[in-house]
Every structure is written in C-alpha cells, then in structure tokens.
C-alpha cells in the first residue's frame, strides 16, 4: 500500500482529533488510568506496516510479562525448558546451532528451530505456515509432547499458584483469571518487539556504512538474476513470507506446505526464511541439513534438484543451479554476512529477565 494512503488516514484521524474537542472517546481513554500503559512500538523506516491483532495491542506490562514467560521454564512439564531453550538470543532466537531441538523428554523434533526475528511481520508461522498468528503459534509448544510437554490446565495451576504471575497478568490484561490465551497474547506481544534493523546492510541504506568491494559484488549477485536471491528473500525483511520448493530434493521425506493444504502442488514447499542474521542461525533449511552458509551457497550453485513442484523461479535447474565461480561464492557470502545485526543479539530488552 502506498505511503500517502497511510498519511491520508493520519490526516483524517488528525482532523477528527482537532475538530472534535469534546469527544467522549478521548476522555474515556485518559480516564482509564488503571489499565496497562500502551507500548510505543517504533517500527523502522521503510518497513511494512505491522498488523497487530486488534484484541492484543502492545502494552508495556504485556511485553514485559511476555518476555518473562518466554524465558520461564515454569511452562514446561519438569521446569527445565522455556521457549528460550530452543530460541536463544545469541543465535538470533534459533536453537544454539542444533539441527533438531530436544524436548523435555529427550525427543528430537524433525524440523530446525527458526530464528524469531522481525516475526511481527510474518503472515504465517512455522516452516509450513500452519499457524496464522504469533498468538496461535505460542499455544503450540507448551502442550507439545516432544517440546515442553505440559498441559495448559497444569500450566494454569502453576501460574495461578505463583507469587508474581497473578499480579503481572492483572497488570497486563486487567484480570487475575489466567488462561492459555493470555499467555499466548503476552508472548506474542514480546515477540513483536524483536525487531532487527541495525545490520551493516541497514547502515548502508541509511548512509552510515559503505560496502567493501566483495560486499558490493555480492550485493549485485543477490539482487540481479545472477543469483536471483531477491525474488524469494525479498523486501527489506529478506523474505516474501511465501512458500517455495527451492530444489533441495527430488524425493521428499517432509512435504511441508503440502501436508497443510492437502494439495500435491504444494509438496516440499516451505516458507522462505528471512536471511537477516542468517550468519547466527546455522544449521540451515527446514531440516537443518547444511552446517554452513558455504554449503548453502554451493547448493544454490551446483546442488539444485528438479522435482515437479520446484519453484518456477529457480534458474538453470537442468545444470544443477547458478554455476557460481569461487570468487562469486565468496562475494555472496560477504553479502549475507552484511545482514548480521549484533545490536539485535545483544539488545538488553530482549534478554533473559531472570
């Protein structure tokens, strides 16, 4: 959507506020002083509008509660695991370099834990997009037997008996009757604050950094049809939030989106992951099959396999991929490393509050 349309709305809204001095709505808002404090989420210049559900506006108390819940092992069956166990800040909220994640009972999942970064802009969650919102996603891991393995009923008993949580929920949501929905809402609020826009790439866009020769060449490969990465890892978020088969396999063990939609045309399609902070999120792909970015680049260069659902965007499939020479591979790697945001992985607002 065009920026001027947003502007239009603001102007109209402005008119409304200046022309209607005695509006009862405004008085209501200011008089409700006992409610939570609205959280002023500043989204970076050039980023899309963030769709925040109308029934879960960000509040200072809600975000802070969500952060605590994200890091609190109270939400697991044996009090050993929190969301942060598999989504660690130093790894851009992916799982500590593990290919698969281990739940509290020692079971391994079959998918690689994705980074949680700029997730407020994701139109769907999980590799196969099966959750439509962060709220819906956050309901999953707690009762999942191969993850935190705690029924929501038991989780409520623990949270209600806790010395702090009833007050914290009451401050954030105005109620002491804690339920799974409120837990999910609080966590989702925290996740929406996990914004990255301080990579060297962002600094370059802001005119605060310049590219090395190798980065500049890598930039060219990424953003031209030489590499053609931009068609899927697109926009300022470095993902189109759409699903593609990028040619990893010719025989599938995990059919991804196909299992959700039931359409064989969707087999082996997975959500394009953002490439922001990709340097910190090894191993790579939905099954963590590649240990390094070098391996990923070699895959796109020589390892692409044809299958009936391969994305029509994939080029030179018959030759196995882009056929990049060693210098081009190195340059592409330099570019991907430009997307690393150390401010994000060190941001004290995102860290363990305990």
């Amino acid at each position: 959507m065009k920026r001027y349309q947003i502007l239009g709305v603001l102007v109209i809204a402005g008119l409304f506020f200046t022309n209607c001095k005695k509006d009862p709505l405004i008085e209501d808002v200011s008089s409700g002083s006992s409610g939570p404090t609205p959280y002023n989420l500043i989204t970076p210049n050039g980023f899309p509008f963030m769709n925040i559900p109308a029934d879960n506006p960000l509040t200072v108390e809600g975000v802070s509660l969500g952060r605590r819940l994200f890091y609190d092992p109270i939400l697991s069956g044996d009090n050993t695991q929190s969301c942060a166990s598999c989504h660690t800040q130093a790894f851009s909220f992916s799982d500590n370099g593990n290919q698969f994640s281990t739940g509290i009972d020692g079971f391994l999942g079959g998918r690689n834990s994705p980074a949680i970064i700029n997730a407020g802009w994701s139109s769907s969650l999980f590799w196969d997009g099966r959750a439509a919102s962060l709220e819906e996603q956050a309901l999953g891991p707690v009762p999942n037997p191969i993850e935190m393995h705690l029924t929501w009923t038991d989780a409520m008993v623990k949270l209600n008996a806790h010395p702090d949580y009833p007050t914290l929920f009451s401050k954030a949501f105005g109620t002491i009757s804690i339920d799974s929905i409120l837990v999910a809402k609080a966590i989702a609020q925290f996740e929406r604050t996990l914004i990255s826009n301080d990579s060297k790439w962002d600094k370059y866009l802001r005119g605060e950094a310049s590219l090395t020769a190798s980065e500049a060449r890598g930039f060219d490969i990424f953003f031209t049809e030489k590499g053609d990465c931009f068609h899927c890892h697109s926009t300022i978020l470095f993902t189109d939030n759409l699903f593609h088969n990028n040619g990893l396999d010719d025989i599938f063990t995990d059919i991804g989106l196909g299992a959700i939609t039931g359409s064989s045309n969707d087999n082996a399609k997975f959500k394009s992951p953002t490439l922001r902070n990709v340097e910190f999120t090894a191993p790579y792909m939905h099954d963590g099959r590649f240990n390094t970015l070098e391996e990923v680049i070699t895959f796109y260069s020589e390892g692409v396999k044809f299958s009936p659902t391969i994305s029509p965007l994939m080029k030179k499939v018959a030759q196995g991929g882009l056929q990049l020479n060693p210098l081009e591979k190195q340059d592409l790697l330099s570019f991907l490393r430009m997307l690393s945001d150390t401010t994000f992985v060190n941001n004290p607002d995102y860290s363990d509050p305990f």
């Binding site: 109209i12 409304f16 980023f47 931009f230």
Partner: protein
C-alpha cells in the same frame, strides 16, 4: 492487501465519526450525473480457462507449458468519450490471478455520464508511478524490481514450466523498467460503445496469456529466463502486450 482493506475501513470509520460527531457538511454523494465503475479481471489461454500448475497449454511456437504465477499491475485507465474528450482514472491496481480479492477493482473516482467508445489503460506502471519504495506492504511490495536493474516494480510476473524436448524447465516472464528504460504497455481496447447514465457499470477485462508469446514477436519459452536486464526481450513483450486484453461483458 489486508492492510489495504484495513486502511480503507479505518478511513471510512474516521470519516463517519467526523460526520456524526462534528456535524460537518457532507460532500455531495447522491449525484446522478456520475456513476461508479468496477473493473474485473479474468484470464484464459486461447479460450481455455486458466488453471495453474498443469502443463496443458500450447503457444504459437509450439511450447507446451503451464502457468504457476500471474501477478501484475494495471494503471491509468482512460475512458474515451464519443465525440472526443477523455476521463482518466488516475490509480493503479495489483492483480494476483489466484487471489479473488484482487480480481476486481473499484476506483474511487466517479465517472461522468456519457457515451464512451473505447477505453485504454497502462499495463504495468508508467515512469511517474513506478517509484521504488512506494509500496511498503504486501502483496505489492513483493513486486519490487531491484534498483540495480530497475528501479520500481515488476509490471508482471508470469511464471511456470514448459516441456523442452522431454525436460521440464522453468520460465520467468518478468517485465518491468529494465536498466532504467520503461517498457510499460499502453493498451487501447475497442468496445462497442457503452453509455453511462446514472447506473453503475461493471467492465470485464480478459487477458489471453498466449498473446504474450506472439504478434508481433514470436517467443520461445527457452528464451524466457533471466530476462530482467534483457532490453530486447523487454521490448518484445512490450510489443506483444498490446493485444493481450480484450473487453468482455459490460453491464
């Protein structure tokens, strides 16, 4: 798209709040001298309905192919009055053939009553409208055309597979402002003249995908990969685009 609708909703809401709360003068909106027009978009391949992901179409040069993606912009619809004079609808619209919510376009501009003999529009975005970073939100922002080859947005992404001597290959018909040169298409569509007289009108525009591959330039899908920087191909698609649409029903 979702945000798009939300914005309108909010605008409309705010508007009503102003009307109700502040008792401002309402603008004239019961004017019988103007009508609203709706444009709907349909797609076919030489009379066959457009189905996705199945290789079942054949173009003039003999490629057997499928369509996986068809996304594009149209803009600046112009209605031409009988006896001269035009009405410009200064707006752009994004279409994704698989997304029903994009298949109809109701411009906010009102159209004056009169008899119109033909309509024309821009396929893609002209240079004034094709400005990088003007679309920040999905789905339009995913049409971005990198600065290094652009700037602006893809006019069209038409992608799919074709059978190349028994090997299935991908094609990507990506048109846009290539290396600084615009290749948007001006289409003029003859219609049997229609009259607007106080009653809203719905106009159907039908794209025949096969027309992209012929007249005047015969296209072989083997050449339709990595063409974003290819001026020769862009020029050919600009030429072929002139007759890809026809007007269907007007009611």
């Amino acid at each position: 798209m979702r945000k798009y609708r939300l914005t309108y909703l909010i605008s409309i809401l705010c508007f009503f709040v102003i009307l109700l709360a502040c008792k401002k003068d309402s603008p004239p909106n019961d004017n019988k001298d103007y009508i609203n027009m709706t444009f709907s978009f349909a797609h076919e391949v030489d009379g066959l309905s457009l189905d996705f992901d199945t290789i079942k179409y054949t173009n003039s040069i003999g490629n057997n192919y499928s369509v996986a993606t068809l996304k594009y912009f149209i803009s600046d619809i112009i209605l031409h009055k009988s006896g001269g004079g035009t009405v410009l609808i200064d707006a752009e619209h994004y279409i994704d053939a698989v997304d029903p919510t994009t298949l109809s376009f109701s411009p906010t501009d009102m159209i004056p009553n009169g008899t119109y003999t033909y309509l024309s529009f821009t396929f893609g975005l002209d240079s004034a409208k094709n400005v990088s970073a003007s679309y920040l939100n999905p789905p339009e922002n995913n049409m971005e055309w990198p600065l290094a080859m652009g700037p602006g947005y893809h006019y069209m992404k038409l992608e799919g597979k074709y059978d190349s001597l028994g090997i299935i290959k991908n094609y990507q018909c990506h048109t846009g402002q290539s290396m600084g040169n615009p290749y948007f298409v001006n289409l003029t569509l003859p219609v049997s003249s229609f009259t607007a007289n106080g009653k809203n009108l719905a106009v159907e525009l039908i794209m025949n995908v096969n027309k992209w591959w012929e007249s005047p330039s015969l296209i072989d899908l083997n050449d339709v990969t990595g063409i974003m920087g290819n001026q020769v191909m862009q020029l050919q698609f600009m030429g072929n685009g002139a007759d890809v649409f026809r007007v269907g029903s007007i009611q």
